[in-house]
Symmetry: C3
Subunit: 266 residues, 3 copies
Amino acid sequence: MTEVLIDCGEALAQMRAKAPLVQNVTNYVAMNVMANVMLAIGASPAMVHAEEEAAEFAGFTQALTINIGTLSAPWVRAMKAAAAVAAARGTPWVLDPVAAGATGFRRETAAALVAERPTVIRGNASEILALSGAAAAGKGVDAADGVEAAEAGALALSRATGAVVAVTGRVDFVTDGTRSCRIANGHPLMPQVTALGCALTGVVGAFLVDQPAFEATVAALAFYGLAGEVAARGARGPGSFAVAFVDALAALTPAEVSAGAKVTWA
Amino acid sequence: MTEVLIDCGEALAQMRAKAPLVQNVTNYVAMNVMANVMLAIGASPAMVHAEEEAAEFAGFTQALTINIGTLSAPWVRAMKAAAAVAAARGTPWVLDPVAAGATGFRRETAAALVAERPTVIRGNASEILALSGAAAAGKGVDAADGVEAAEAGALALSRATGAVVAVTGRVDFVTDGTRSCRIANGHPLMPQVTALGCALTGVVGAFLVDQPAFEATVAALAFYGLAGEVAARGARGPGSFAVAFVDALAALTPAEVSAGAKVTWA
Amino acid sequence: MTEVLIDCGEALAQMRAKAPLVQNVTNYVAMNVMANVMLAIGASPAMVHAEEEAAEFAGFTQALTINIGTLSAPWVRAMKAAAAVAAARGTPWVLDPVAAGATGFRRETAAALVAERPTVIRGNASEILALSGAAAAGKGVDAADGVEAAEAGALALSRATGAVVAVTGRVDFVTDGTRSCRIANGHPLMPQVTALGCALTGVVGAFLVDQPAFEATVAALAFYGLAGEVAARGARGPGSFAVAFVDALAALTPAEVSAGAKVTWA
């Protein structure tokens, strides 16, 4: 069942060798966790979201990620401006459409950002369904739909936008509109820690620098899920799990990631 | 001295069975901790505070909590709009008047929110005294007054507003204006971790869904304090305590909470 | 090599005896960590940054710290107003010029705040170089320049502004323009945890209350670095290190700090 088609460990090694500068416009809940996760994997995160400087910073960052978790009007302007700079410069950027279907403000913002041609769109099933136009059951930031239910929507969204689309959940699904993979790494404690999905978006951004988008996304998800498996071994609950997860992100070697990745063609 | 008058474990079991969606408008310091605390207890937190969507979200959340810890003019508008929707729909909502007496901006905001008829007001002694109009000694977010000094103020505030008022500290005091309880659970390490009081406000919000406000508030406080007692057993300081506290919130069973709650009539 | 010229443990004891109220205008990434760090050392942190109340709060706080990590126009106004109140009242205040050279918005804000006469300026080498007008290599929030490269700039900045200038890195450098010290405490895991530098700015602020600025800054840095050394002993990575670090800040005694401080004249 485990078929090695992408060398996830090699992708991790390449990312660490570059220690890429990644600009993240993310929500207030996730900022600290995301920065710690990105430092642990060996990237250089910069949390730059202000309207006055987000677009300027996007002019020299190596990757950009945008998360709509906690929106406001000035932030939306900053997001659009930064995304436009990244798209114009060919800088890889990742859209994380948190709770995209929950309110009109989120639906409009997500649609406007999709129009700026993200390299990757990463969300849970409800978010990807909301973006792809299908009816979704999500009530808040937690997915109420299974990953399988969003696979057709993910394919359609990828074909319509040109983005690699990643649906994360118990088993992740990644598609570039032609090729699709499932990644079975992960642990049930992961969604019990807030913002681990948001932080993953930053990890995907770091992997994208100078690496092909589909393969980099698959590798990032396998690595991240494997760190969750390692962290769960000694955890006594979501608190100690979160601590061990950051330790595991720093400690996992490329060889361990290559050996532990559970990636199959979909 | 320990007189079981409310089945705190049963209230926890009911809350977990519902896994309620709780919208939280809280301060930047608390957002991450509060979300992790609420995930650990089995609730579904949504940190939605933007003026553009807070009132819309309040139209379908199962409970709402508002914390004035880090204010700004747009946030105050969002708070008032969300509270008004909750009050109009009969959705339970909790006010956390952080440092209510410290600045004029806080005094005005707290007063305006009290007028939106919160179901529960939860604060430390200095904050409850400030809200009840009495002179309070609080200099910042930490209480400079003892819980006992705020009991008369809490009663007056409850009778004036119709809210259940909870004063938290070494021994908590909860009143609905007629009945009053003291809850002796807790540990001195709890105030050494930032935002555990703010996060408790979210826990109270989760317990309020489909449960009577006075009993739900007492049960939430007893459960929370008991988790602090459990977490302190192996802690080597406030850092490891905070980790163990989240583990304990997830691990405590209803039976353990019923057995460990230290609730007495006041 | 270890020459005891400042009693760092005594400075810690004085700070803890006062438990000073410190107002912090800091970035979203750092707020929670900073508050926990300051509670652990025995200070009373207040995270008050809103334009509507920052200056009012600065009128009674015992120390103020301002960090430009996540800027916006209203925050810049609040920073300037709070700094002006502190300067006028003689309240000690610390400037943390995060990524000061990265964008025009940061350069302008940092320069405007320097004009408000901070008691201490604390940054990494790239930030101090940017402030002192020299060309710096910093790309984001991480230092790309060594501490040694910034020593001349720090001296010039101190003489031009009257501030004590602290350059933190592998070995810290502190100068008041006449006297200079190096502090060799610390551990390589410290920069792998986000916002520990930002949180240190709050620790410096707490030490400044009723203590001479140069000595207090040196003592704060030695204490902080020593806590990093202690925390690293049992850490399995940056996650468990961050937890143990907060424990160590709370547990270290004045005697241990006096014995472990590695301070030399520069």
